[in-house]
Symmetry: C2
Subunit: 659 residues, 2 copies
């Protein structure tokens, strides 16, 4: 089979998710966790091939990003105290809205319910009008959910109502809980099965809560992202990097999200592996020294404007042009988008099923200034697998304000600059007598006033001779006159520029990427549709070689052991299959595990030391010495050499499978 024939064969049979999932579970790529106890939804275990695949993906990630860019990898705790996540905004904002059915006790996600019910009504309306429902591209998230509205009733709606529904659906990700509640009342949206009224939407925080220590008084959460640990260590990381920016930290580890009702297999889980990068950069200079390396890559982009116009037709463009035209804001963002593309395609993502979609204003996380998602197309729709967000200075700023620790970069200026700003002077000796134990609190509050506040208060002080403040933790208003404080606008020459860096954050959901690759790699042999093949790139395949003695004959055992020892010494992951079944069956089993190479040992091997090497996708076979075959395996797997090139000195061999 030539490369073109393989490509054609891969697309010959229609994709069946049932068959793929049957293989993935049957071969123990993954399984529902606690299966033996009935399972817990949203929790999955990886079995040996899934776990090895994941380890290989992580290994490539580490080399592709951490090693390549000399990133500073850290490993921070998952347990996180309340205070940190309160400051980061997660305690208040990391939640979904849920509605309870008071009769059945069932719990629904409010936005999903509104969306599903209105869509069902619109469909019913179309039926009543005799219009064929248009095949609308559904959001990935929607496709993943089991539909709750089972029956579509053909009821015609007023034209105005249809319009109202359509407007609501277009903005569905942007409503607050209260707004969702109002919609449910206004349009009489209840339990989609029984129609019963639901309780008003309540915020459900998606973090898992726990208590740290024996007294139970220190409330904590399991982290929702690895990012916070990296931000909290910013000063130490900056020092480790000799005070220089830009630099990036990185972290690989589990994060948690207590989903209200997870239902989409590996795509929506409660515990998941993330790999996150926080790239700290000067907000005034987001150029990137290696941008030229990615600028000529052509990608599919779905910018905000296109989506707002109601279209899902991507703009196909080079990264260089996308940055030049400001579709992508800056070089650093563009550089990482390019690197994400290179990573994903290296580990087996089909580039024709990858697009970069910009977040709409109403769907952005609370900390993000801009965000592009790498979305992968699967049978569940387009799935967000990598986020590439510009978190600006949000996180460093809030943690710094909360803890009163500076988190800034100090840049020595080649030419000093004049800076005009408001400054406050305190007559410290007066504070103690007046405020007693509260004095430090008042002083710290005053010294941390923003430029804007200082400007306002300077005027107040000039006009009235006194100013008042409300300070957290102090009862009543604090009044100060010009004996206590002086506020002036001053111009100074500065030799050092201090700034809070912006953060560009590529954030990878490893489990989602892995599932998408499962779909992108799966095909059926056209000559035998029941035979599924997982064509993983050798670099990330769980095992690289299946070692197959032709029969159970004892004569073959010494050379099988010998080849095993050589593979083990070469650190090539392999598996021996000396079960009695036919070679064809064993290869077929192996196709399902995505093992790229088969090495067959037969009776000629005993006499002349030669073995057969089989390539999974083409089923091509070649023959040579053990050393030559292992050399070819290594070249294809780890050095990216093409099969034909790596095996050009080996002898073509007639397939045993055909016999």
């Amino acid at each position: 089979m030539s490369v073109e024939e393989i490509q054609k064969a891969k697309k010959a049979v229609e994709f069946s998710r049932e068959q793929l999932e049957g293989i993935l579970r049957g071969r123990f790529f993954y399984a529902p966790a606690f299966d033996l106890y009935g399972g817990v939804s949203g929790l999955y275990d990886y079995g040996p091939p899934g776990c090895a695949f994941q380890a290989n993906v992580v290994d490539v990630w580490r080399k592709h990003f951490v090693l390549e860019e000399s990133m500073l990898e850290v490993d921070c705790t998952m347990l996180t105290p309340y205070e940190v996540l309160k400051t980061s905004g997660h305690v208040d904002k990391f939640s979904d809205w849920m509605c309870k059915d008071p009769k059945t006790g069932e719990i629904f996600r409010a936005d999903h319910i509104v969306e599903e019910v209105l869509e069902a009504r619109l469909k019913g309306d179309k039926e009543a009008r005799g219009i064929a429902a248009q095949p609308v591209e559904e959001s990935a998230d929607k496709k993943k959910r089991k539909k709750k509205v089972k029956e579509i009733k053909a009821v015609k709606l007023d034209d105005e109502i249809v319009k109202e529904y359509e407007v609501i659906l277009a903005k569905i990700d942007g409503f607050s809980g209260a707004q969702l509640g109002e919609l449910m009342v206004k349009y009489d949206i209840g339990n989609p099965v029984t129609g019963d009224k639901l309780e008003p939407p309540k915020a459900f925080n998606l973090m898992f809560e726990t208590a740290i220590g024996p007294s139970g008084q220190l409330k904590g959460y399991l982290r929702p992202e690895t990012a916070q640990g990296q931000f909290l260590n910013f000063n130490k990381l900056l020092e480790f990097n000799n005070g220089k920016t830009p630099f990036a930290s990185a972290s690989i580890g589990k994060s948690f999200r207590n989903e209200i009702s997870p239902r989409a297999g590996l795509l929506r889980v409660r515990e998941f592996l993330m790999a996150e990068i926080e790239h700290f950069v000067d907000p005034l200079d987001k150029s990137h020294p290696k941008f030229h390396e990615v600028k000529d890559i052509t990608l599919s982009f779905l910018p905000r404007g296109v989506q707002e116009s109601g279209s899902t037709v991507p703009i196909v463009e080079t990264i260089g042009n996308a940055v030049a035209t400001k579709m992508i804001d800056n070089e650093t963002l563009g550089y990482f988008i390019g690197r994400i593309y290179l990573f994903l395609t290296k580990i087996g993502v089909d580039p024709t099923r990858l697009r970069f979609r910009q977040h709409m204003d109403n769907e952005m996380a609370h900390y993000a200034a801009d965000c592009w998602d790498a979305e992968l197309q699967t049978s569940y729709g387009w799935i967000e697998c990598v986020g590439c967000a510009d978190r600006s200075a949000y996180d460093l700023t809030v943690h710094s304000q909360k803890t009163k620790e500076k988190m800034v970069v100090r840049q020595k200026l080649e030419t000093p600059i004049e800076v005009t700003k408001f400054e406050i002077d305190l007559t410290k000796k007066l504070f103690g007598p007046k405020f007693r134990k509260d004095a430090p609190k008042v002083e710290s509050f005053l010294l941390n006033l923003s430029q804007e506040d200082l400007k306002t208060k300077a005027k107040e002080l000039a006009d009235d001779g006194k100013v008042t403040f409300t300070i957290e933790g102090i009862e009543g208003e604090v009044e100060l006159d010009d004996k206590f404080i002086k506020i002036e606008e001053r111009t100074k020459v500065e030799h050092v520029r201090e700034y809070v860096p912006s953060v560009i954050e590529p954030s990878f959901g490893i489990g989602r990427i892995i599932y998408a690759i499962f779909e992108h790699s799966f095909w059926n042999r056209p000559e035998d549709v029941a035979r599924g093949v997982l064509s993983f790139p050798p670099l990330v395949a769980p095992s690289k070689v299946l070692l197959v003695p032709l029969s159970n004959n004892k004569e073959l055992q010494p050379i099988t052991k010998q080849v095993s020892d050589i593979l083990r010494k070469s650190e090539i992951p392999f598996k021996v299959d000396d079960s009695g079944v036919s070679i064809g069956k064993r290869y077929s089993r192996n196709d399902e595990l995505g093992t790229p190479f088969g090495v067959t040992i037969d009776f000629d091997s005993v006499t002349d030391g030669s073995v057969t090497l089989r390539e999974r996708d083409s089923t091509k076979q070649v023959r040579g010495s053990v050393e030559a075959v292992i050399k070819a395996i290594k070249e294809v797997t780890y050095q990216g050499v093409a099969w034909d090139e790596a095996t050009k000195d080996l002898t073509p061999f007639v397939s045993q499978e055909a016999k």
Copy 2:
């Protein structure tokens, strides 16, 4: 410096924990987590060198164990429902005893308090008697804690009381909470500072609790070990292994332990990385096919008997003899002890500070039948870093009983055997009418009775014509006569043997091992005591190469970039230090990071392409082409070639440091 001179130098200066910890924190190997927020005790983050070191240790572990033995690695969730850990025994038994001081609210570990107070009294007694306190070898755990008893009062005790105290201290790990409470009353043991009475000991479960899902009704915990996930997947793993034993599963991941008051730095933490192996083996045949590979390794053993005699002098013996004399129970346990030794010494553990200690009867975990700990000597005492337990069939049995799922190996017998056992027959048609909806429950209960129960009930049935049972979930007693059931002893010929495998579990605390290696690797250059060196084996060193351009001169930049690119392409982790400080200072900084090699670029490099290679421990330098130098680095780092051998074709170079 010759190898002997380095060895001598490493021991010349007395070890200072303060200096080591200063370096580890200063170079951001680790830091207290949430430092910015005041920290949370028992939680630590790894910074870039610590994280890289950890990743390398994990990588070696995976190759040394998983790849070498074709183990089945799995990745299971940390979130674990209540039911699973109730069955495993952790809900009831994974706890420490704590006492609260009702006045101060302070919480103490009961066993620690009893131990410390009695020891302080014994010391006071010795002082009163004018006997110099003997330097007793304190337990590691004790040394790690901050002493709470600040003042030793010289009070003479009755001879009998002294004896009683000594007996209690020898058995301190074996007391129940009630017993500890009695001791505290009997000997008037209270708050060690104020003397005030404490509340009676209460069990404090060491698992972190949380709720899964929005209703809050599914109680869960963070796993205390990775093992349970492996046990629950036993049937799937056995099938993956084509039904054959022995085989091993393995898992690397975080586990959690809500310590009452953690205080010993990286040695006692609330969230930690574990690497665990569950080796499933026939309980009747614990031989190991590769035992011969380890049998000649000589180790220090501290078996139970030696400890019971009050001695800490180890028995030095080969593993082969230890198994032959039954000091170690079987070959499989011996094999893993040998493999653990090879792993630990490969990654930098000093073999002279490693011993294998057998658990005493009263300290064994609730699931263990036998256990040997690999203990590493540190400034905190001997620390348990790897446990090697025989969990027998405990876990598979309890999960199987709870879930009514068989978890057994089926072995086809070459010669069928006769088996005599009790069997129960149910007259099923009678159960429905009598028990209605409870019928399946009653039937399942009866079919799962043990041989022992069947024997008892058979006699009862024969004697009385009826038997009674208490069945969980059914009110009152269940009475059945011989119309309902028949119990008979029968002899049958069986062709298949079914058995629950025994589990041998080597369990690695990666963080503890890493800390011990930090201590074992640390020394000071005798010529400059302030200079600390971390002599990590190159294989696990966080970074392998420091690339040092001699000066800031722009002429050196192109070749520095060129060498960087080659290192990056060779996937050798490296760091460039082009800061302005002297070469000596840069090397010294680097010694603290444990980087084994320095590559210096000077003006000769620009003309002839040669660079200098420096070895960290000996400070020896050689010169050669970039290619030759990188080849030497690779050989020493990844292929275990000795420095002298790998650099024999390079030219010796006079040190720049001396100048």
